[in-house]
Structures are given as C-alpha cells and as structure tokens.
Symmetry: C2
Subunit: 415 residues, 2 copies
C-alpha cells in the first residue's frame, strides 16, 4: 500500500476544525484532525512532497522522517500538521489491517473514556480566529447572526472585553449546574477573563481584587456542583510567578483537579517556582511538543499532571509521551478542542494508555457537533464519557455533507 495524496478541509466552528485525508492506492483513505493555526492547510499540503509513495505501515519511521524534514522550522505549526497527518495514517492503517486504532497502540485499558467539559466562561458559542480574534462564523452570519463589534483583550487571550458584564459568579454557577446535570463529572472553567477592575494588558500582574474576582468565579462553580464534580481552572498563559502563586493559593480550598497554564509555556523553571509554593496541582503541556520538555516539566517543575494536546502530539507519539509520564507516576489530562473526529482519536489514545485522568471536550456549545457523526449513536459524549469504537481505524465517519455546510470560506474541501 502506498500513500497517493494528502488533502484538507476546514470547518469554522468555535475554532477552525481541520480535517486531513490521506488516500492510498489500495482504495482506502484515512482521516485525521490537525490542531488549528494560521496558514495550517498550506503547511499540511506541502507534506505530499515527501509522503506520496511511502507505505503507511512504517508509521514510526514516517513520523521521524516528517520531523527530520522540518527540524529547522519545528516545533509549533509544523507539528500541528504532522499530528493531523499521523492520525490520518493510523486511521488508514487500521482500516487496512482491520484493527481499531487502540489495537495498533497496544490494546485498551477501558471501553469508555472520561470526558471533562470545557465550560469556557459563558454558555453562548464563542468563536475565534487562528490569531485569537473573536469572529462570527460565515454559516452563523448566513443564518442571520449579527457580526458583532468586539474589543479584544490581549491579556485575556482574545476575550471580547466588551462582554465583561456577563462574566459573574452567578453565570458561572448556572453553567456549572447545567453541565453537571448533563452528566459530566469533571468540568473546566476559565478565570483569566476580563474583570471589572483595572488591569495592565501586558505586565502579567494580578491585583488582589483581580485574584479575588477569579476565585469568586471558581468558588461559585464549586458551590453549585458540590464536592463530587471534579473542577479544573484554566488561565491561558497570562500571568507571572507572583500572580500565579496568589491565584493558586486562593484556589486551594476548592481542591482543584488542576490549575492550567498559569504562566507562559516556555519557561519551565518559573513553573517550578509556582508549583513549589502551592498544593494546587498545576498543569501545562498543550504548548509543548518534545518529550524532553515534558520530562523537564516533571523533573524540574515538579508537575504531577500534564495537559498535552491530542492533535498537536498525535496518537503514535502520544503513546510514547504517556509511557514517559507513567514512568514518573504522572497522569495526563489530554487537551482537545477538535471535532468529533479528533475527539474519537483522543479516545483511542486514552483507552490504550493507563495513566489518563480525562480527555477534554470543548464543543458543548457547538450546535452541529453530533450532526457531523455519520455512524454510531448520537450524542457522542454521553453521561460525561465517550465510548471507544471497536471498528477498524478510528471507527468514526464524518458526514461530509454536514462538514461542507460549515466549511471555512477560502479553504479547500479535499479538492
């Protein structure tokens, strides 16, 4: 079997959802999903040049070849591309071997994977561009949604600061109760949101009022759902060490599952300074790509929870990363902001590895999420879990008519 073509399609959801299709001369195709990024599909298509003619059975060597061929430009966006291609190759390989992907990864530990629901900060669909600007997707505008004027908060990773007044302890509590009612046993909320208090857009600091406001949002969630629902809090790399320590300490009574991305990602030593000052477990990882850096997060920063991204890392490399973490008795909570396809890919990885805390689901507010699934029972996420398919490959077929309806203008659709 030889790879004959790599092509892409993009849906405009809360984030760009990029599907990668790998065709073969055996008449079979595989499909994967790549983590978004500016210009991503142009990057993915370039890999035709080195993969066409290769036999997908040599998955480990092909991943190594892809990484070697872009070593001068890695990691980041190049690894987003490689992750999507790698998953598509595994789907293809599974179909050819008539094995589910979890079997290619070494068999499974569980038949269903615990999902944690990302609850963002409100309940309306928030959509952002690859450069973190709020947007109204084309399909939504076509349905008559107003193209809203927004005021971007750079500090708050693109949050629309003009909607600050909707961010209250009450709205957080309401959202939390609703999601617990839907059966989720783990929830994640953002507290790095615009506050009523003055702040500096660039200095990474938090005043006591800002810390208390963030803690009041998280506290309202805990109060609404009680101790049985696991709670994680996300900060999107916005703070410095002092602010992060203040916040982590303020949240200690809530006994969080983890506090995510309190600092920018590249300074691992600084993360250790925060972790050594608090019993709140910090997590980070969605901005890291190399196993050596995850090892540094464990050994140098002392993290007990890692949060790598399924699509950025890929499944084959994800197995290796999970095994590295397991050697240190560290659990993984897999970051995932993808369509049903990428979510199922994550479920295969989580099924095949022992040290999994949960897999993220970021699409609770996307109205067409389950419409995209052509085979299997809707909803895909039920009672806070997703079942792991036993069909060959990823075992999930995307309904391309539905995908086409929500396609991103200006992007190819597997042409």
């Amino acid at each position: 079997m030889k790879i004959t073509r790599i092509s892409t399609a993009v849906m405009e959801s809360n984030f760009d959802w990029t599907l990668v299709r790998v065709d073969s001369d055996a008449g079979l195709s595989g499909m994967g999903e790549a983590f978004l990024g500016p210009g991503l599909t142009a990057v993915i298509r370039e890999f035709n040049d080195i993969l066409v003619g290769e036999d997908p059975v040599h998955i480990d060597r092909l991943v190594r070849r892809m990484r070697a061929s872009c070593i001068y430009a890695s990691p980041g966006l190049m690894f987003h591309a490689i992750g999507g291609i790698e998953t598509a190759i595994l789907d293809l390989l599974g179909k050819a071997c008539k094995m589910p992907v979890w079997q290619l990864l070494g068999g499974k530990y569980r038949d269903a994977v615990t999902i944690y629901a990302d609850c963002h900060g409100g309940d309306a669909l928030e959509s952002i561009t690859p450069l973190l600007k709020p947007r109204t997707p084309a399909w939504m505008a076509a349905e008559g949604a107003p193209v809203e004027e927004s005021r971007i908060s750079v500090k708050h990773h693109g949050w629309d600061a003009s909607k600050q007044e909707s961010l209250t302890p009450e709205s957080y509590a309401e959202r939390a109760a609703e999601m617990a009612e839907r059966g989720f046993r783990m929830l994640k909320f953002d507290v790095d949101v615009p506050t009523p208090y003055e702040t500096d857009e660039y200095n990474r600091d938090l005043s006591p009022m800002e810390v208390d406001f963030a803690a009041s949002l998280a506290g309202a969630v805990r109060k609404a759902v009680g101790p049985r629902v696991g709670l994680a809090i996300d900060c999107h790399w916005n703070y410095g060490v002092a602010a992060a320590v203040d916040l982590a300490r303020a949240l200690e009574p809530l006994r969080l599952l983890w506090l995510e991305d309190v600092l920018p990602p590249e300074n691992i030593r600084a993360m250790g300074e925060v972790q050594r000052c608090t019993r709140t477990p910090l997590a980070t990882g969605e901005n890291h790509f190399f196993r050596i850096d995850f090892q540094r997060l464990i050994l140098e920063a002392g993290l007990r929870v890692l949060s790598p991204d399924v699509q950025k890392i890929g499944l084959w490399e994800g197995r290796k990363l999970a095994d590295l973490a397991d050697m240190h008795y560290v659990n993984l909570t897999w970051h995932n902001i993808s369509s049903p396809l990428g979510t199922i890919a994550g479920a295969h990885l989580c099924a095949a590895t022992p040290n999994v805390l949960a897999l993220e689901w970021h699409a609770a507010s996307v109205p067409f999420f389950d419409d995209l699934v052509k085979n299997g029972d809707a909803p895909l996420v039920r009672d806070g879990k997703v079942k792991v398919p036993d069909l060959p490959g990823l075992g999930l077929e995307i309904d391309l008519d539905v995908a086409y309806k929500y396609r991103k203008p200006g992007e190819a659709f597997f042409e």
Copy 2:
C-alpha cells in the same frame, strides 16, 4: 502612521528567499525577509488581520502582540513569519524617522561586519525545497539545466547521496583555497555529508571510519588555508552524544572557531554532555527562538558561542538576545541563509551589538545575488566583509525586476 497591508514574494534560490512588504498610509513601505518554511507565506499573510491599523512606532508592543496571538502555535514557523514582519516594520520605521536601522537599535560598534562564507561541501549551486528535498529551480530549468534525479539522505539533512563521489578532501581543499583567495577570513564547511562507508539512516551513530572521513575533509580545508583563516564546521543536528564527542575530539587539532549543531536541537542537557568532553567550542542556536532557551544553552550546556538565525529571531529581539549573551561574555555568530535584504538586516544587527563573531553568507554560489541589489556598489560582500548602510531603514533596495525573474512558481509576488 498606520500599517495598511502585509504582502509577500518568494524567490527560488538555493533556498526559498521570502520577502515581506509592509505598506503604510504614509506612502512609505518597509521590506524584510523571513526564514523559509512550508506554507510560510500563507502564515505571514494571516498577520494582516491583527497588524493593519497599528502604528509601527510601537515595535516592541507589536512584536509582543504577534507572539501572544500565536502562543498556542509557537515557536517555529510562526516565529519565521514574525521575524520577517518585524524587520519590515523596522525598515519602514527607519524610513519614516530618516534613521538607519542600526540607529533604531542603539547605534553602531563597527562600519563593516565580518562575514563567514558557508562553503557547503562543493561549489555547484545546491538548491533544496522547504522540506529538504534537492530541486532544480524553475528559472534554472528554463535555462536548460537538467532536472536531476536525486537520492535523498535523510540522515544528511537532504543531501543528494548520489553525488557522494564529489565529496573528497581534494574538492574541499580546492573550494577553501578559492574562498580564501576571494578575501574571506572565516569559512564554514559541512562534514555531515554522505561518506563511502555504510551508515544507518536513523540511529545518529558514526563509525570510526565515518569520523575519520569527516575529519579528513575538515583537515584538508585547514591545510589549504593555513592558520590565518578561521574555520567552522557544521553537522546539521545529525548525531548522538557519543558520535558528537568522537567527532569534536577528532577535530580538536584544527582549532575550530566552532563546531555547529552536532545534536538535534531540543535536548540542551545532552549538548552539555558533549561540550564538557571537548575543548572544541560547540555552537547551536538556529533552531531556538526563546531567550530562556539560549540562557539554558549558556548555563546548562556551557556553550561559549551561540548561532541564532537573524531572520528567525528578528532584529529587535536579536538586540535583546545579544545583550543576554553579552551578560555571560558569550559571542554570537549569526546564522543567515537569506538574500541581500536579509543579509543587510543581519549587518545592521551585528553593527549595533558588541558581542559578534561574524555574520553568515550562504549565497556565494548564487549567480544573481548581487543583481538583486538596486542601490549601492556590487558586490555586497567584499573582502570578507559587508558595509553597513547609513541610509534610512535597512538602506538596501531590492531590484524587483530581478526578483521577479527568479520568483517561485505558485507564490504571490506582492499581489
């Protein structure tokens, strides 16, 4: 003054040379050059979305904004884009303020910058794609050059293994003598080239025969040019610790300026293992983007020479990086594989910072390099130096008619 548009053009030279133009409402434009990468121009154009309407005078904030807006996909290709845009903004700003870029960077230490010539391994023009495949550029094919069949060596970063027989101590010596005759006082050669000996494409090992072959190539160069010409050797991330130590020890008698990229870039601790075993100064840096990682190279790996890439880092950030290195008494040898524009950008940075060893020039075999320079005396590189312009901005104008002649098929030309 407001930024109105960012556009790109690509020339197909030994590498892709990507020009970035930033237009303003003041009728002035700035031009920078970005380090190559698959899909790069699509990435660069996306930044229109957050830069149009911004005032270029706030260069530091704009760079921080660009980095923050792609934090989830950085570094790598995103930073290639940012570096090219940043340099174009500085060129624009210099023109608007009627100041050369070296003045925007804090004034100058020298009027001409020492160039080291990258001599690759032979003297013919070798051209490779962004995914490191040998290619015959379109303009060269149009001039009747045969489209050659190549046999890619993955271990040797895309070298055409079918041309191994031209890689001899004699050919290296001949090339070295020719370049010394042209006035260069510093030369760099590749020794990570295909050898007559059996090797494994993926295991990063070197047999004693391979080490001796590499040393014989470097030794022939030293013998040809004598002790007055500084000599550096490049290995393109191909080896493991044991092979790197063997090679570094074998090269000690040659008293190299530096031995570059002996290991893959991401494991900084491993680089320290090599450096502690040899008096040959190791250098690395063109794959690093964050100052914190350069600091680790100094403190954890004990490097005395760093080799960051001008275009990947950018000039404004480059100033900060040079100052960090200077704090540790470490010199920089700036990696540069760009057109005359990127080379002059590097010269401004090298003029404005004290701790510079040299700036690379990788285009000695590109026949149209000097034709691209519209103003100023050809050749740009003379007697192993490049003069730093005192005109506003970068002070170098690219002849766009010439650039168009060598454009890359399928890429926009500032449209």
